[in-house]
């Protein structure tokens, strides 16, 4: 095998010139991150997804998005399903900024309450509201209205 061929085999996802790398996503959540970011509809650039990569703390997913930076609302939503994720802003192939997602204490209009009889799931003019807490690496969302707790499959309840 030539050196060039070996390099081709090693290169799974190429570095991006400008954009965002979301690293340390909980394994299996990369496609939900794309759903939150409404990709492909919301991005023109190339998007790369790595799933089940080896990380320092076990398996992880990574998403690389060319030509796009995330807003606060998007990062808040990602933190709910990938609380250990890091957001890397890339300019000219270099990491300009790297920060861990911050889990908000409170979210509004982000997740639908799982209780079908909750007042927030009716025609009333209110947004869903949740207090956010974490317990042993799990995110718990407690509805401000009916107090029902969402602790699993949060991605399924995203609005």
């Amino acid at each position: 095998m030539t050196e060039n061929t070996a390099a081709k085999h090693e290169l799974r996802v190429r570095p991006i010139e400008n954009g965002t790398v979301i690293d340390h996503i909980s394994a299996g959540q990369a496609l939900n991150v794309l759903k939150i970011l409404e990709i492909p509809g919301s991005s023109e650039g190339v998007v790369s997804v790595v799933m089940n990569a080896a990380g320092a703390h076990g398996k992880k997913d990574v998403v690389k998005i060319e030509g796009r930076e995330l807003n606060v609302r998007e990062v808040d939503r990602i933190s709910l399903i990938a609380p250990n994720a890091t957001i890397n802003i890339i300019r000219n192939f270099k990491v300009l900024q790297k920060k861990k997602v911050h889990i908000p204490e409170y979210i509004e209009g982000v997740v639908r309450c799982m209780n079908p009889n909750c007042i927030s799931n009716t025609m009333e003019p209110v947004n869903s509201k949740f207090d956010v807490t974490s317990e042993k690496d799990r995110i718990l969302l407690r509805c401000k209205y009916c107090e029902r707790v969402i602790s699993e499959n949060i991605a399924e309840h995203l609005l």
């Binding site: 909750c118 007042i119 927030s120 009333e124 209110v126 401000k144 209205y145 009916c146 707790v149």
Partner: protein
């Protein structure tokens, strides 16, 4: 705060019994917005307001109101807050009272929100236990439908503030939800679960009985078997402590034998009365007539 409400209720009890006349809430209007049927909650709020010299307005029938035309609860509240000094809301959706409070400049009291909470019932249950027995470290058995009964859910959390020992007595189909049991254990409350009322009757200060609804059981024979096994009878009470008090949020069907009504253990009718002084206390406090 809870103790303050209970102490205030005790001070107002002579007025609730009609032994003293009060004008504490004269000129104040209470609006009762009941989107679901209610007997005791609605009537005891009305009595409480009238005993304190205030007035009561009613929504009337939902079918003949603007709600039937599709008005949102938020809009109803925005209108009604202009007519009243406080609102009592009973609504079939969980979280409705909390949402209503966001749209109201006057106090909103939750009179029951779907399968959620019924806090004024919890206050009157606590008041009953304190008047008829004792709250601190009480040994309490909750018997009947512990899965769907919202009164026992809220009561458990309230009792946890007083270090109660709680025994849950129910058939396995109607056990207390696991998340409530784990919440109580996290709060260091001693909790036991059993399906035998005989096992616990000799060891508790208070027995709180709830109705088992027939529709929870697809098989009528199974319902009959379960309902009979948990029925409170004078024979069962032969093994009870002399000071045992039996409570029930009412209405009861057949879970308490009517012969028990004439024993010193029965306190469910007084429990129902205590709803008046407790609601008088809440109204006086939220309307700022008492501090």
């Amino acid at each position: 705060m809870i103790d303050h409400i209970l102490n205030t209720a005790e001070k107002l009890e002579p007025i609730a019994r009609g032994k003293e006349i009060s004008t504490l809430l004269a000129g104040k209007v209470l609006m009762l917005l009941f989107f679901e049927p209610s007997t005791r909650t609605r009537m005891s709020f009305e009595t409480a307001m009238i005993r304190l010299g205030g007035s009561v307005m009613n929504l009337g029938s939902v079918e003949a109101s603007s709600i039937a035309k599709g008005e949102t609860l938020a809009d109803t509240i925005r209108v009604v807050e202009g007519y009243a000094d406080a609102i009592v809301l009973r609504h079939p959706k969980e979280g409705s009272a909390r949402m209503a409070s966001e749209f109201s400049s006057v106090p909103v009291i939750n009179g029951g929100d779907g399968a959620g909470h019924h806090p004024t019932q919890t206050f009157l249950d606590l008041y009953t236990i304190s008047r008829e027995s004792h709250l601190e470290g009480a040994k309490i058995a909750l018997a009947g439908d512990l899965k769907y009964g919202r009164t026992v859910h809220s009561l458990c959390y309230a009792l946890s503030l007083y270090g109660a020992e709680i025994t849950m007595v129910s058939p396995k189909e109607l056990r207390m939800p696991a998340e409530i049991i784990s919440d109580l254990k996290r709060l260091d409350i001693k909790v036991k679960q059993t399906d035998s009322i005989e096992e616990v009757i000799g060891d508790v200060d208070v027995l709180y009985v709830t109705r088992i609804q027939k529709e929870r059981f697809p098989d009528p024979d199974e319902y009959h078997k379960v309902a009979t096994s948990l029925q409170i009878t004078p024979e069962l009470l032969e093994n009870a402590r002399p000071q045992l008090k039996i409570m029930h949020p009412l209405p009861r069907i057949n879970e308490i034998d009517p012969r028990v009504d004439y024993t010193p253990h029965a306190c469910y009718y007084r429990q129902s009365f205590y709803g008046v002084p407790v609601r008088m206390a809440l109204l006086s406090l939220v309307l700022g007539a008492l501090e």
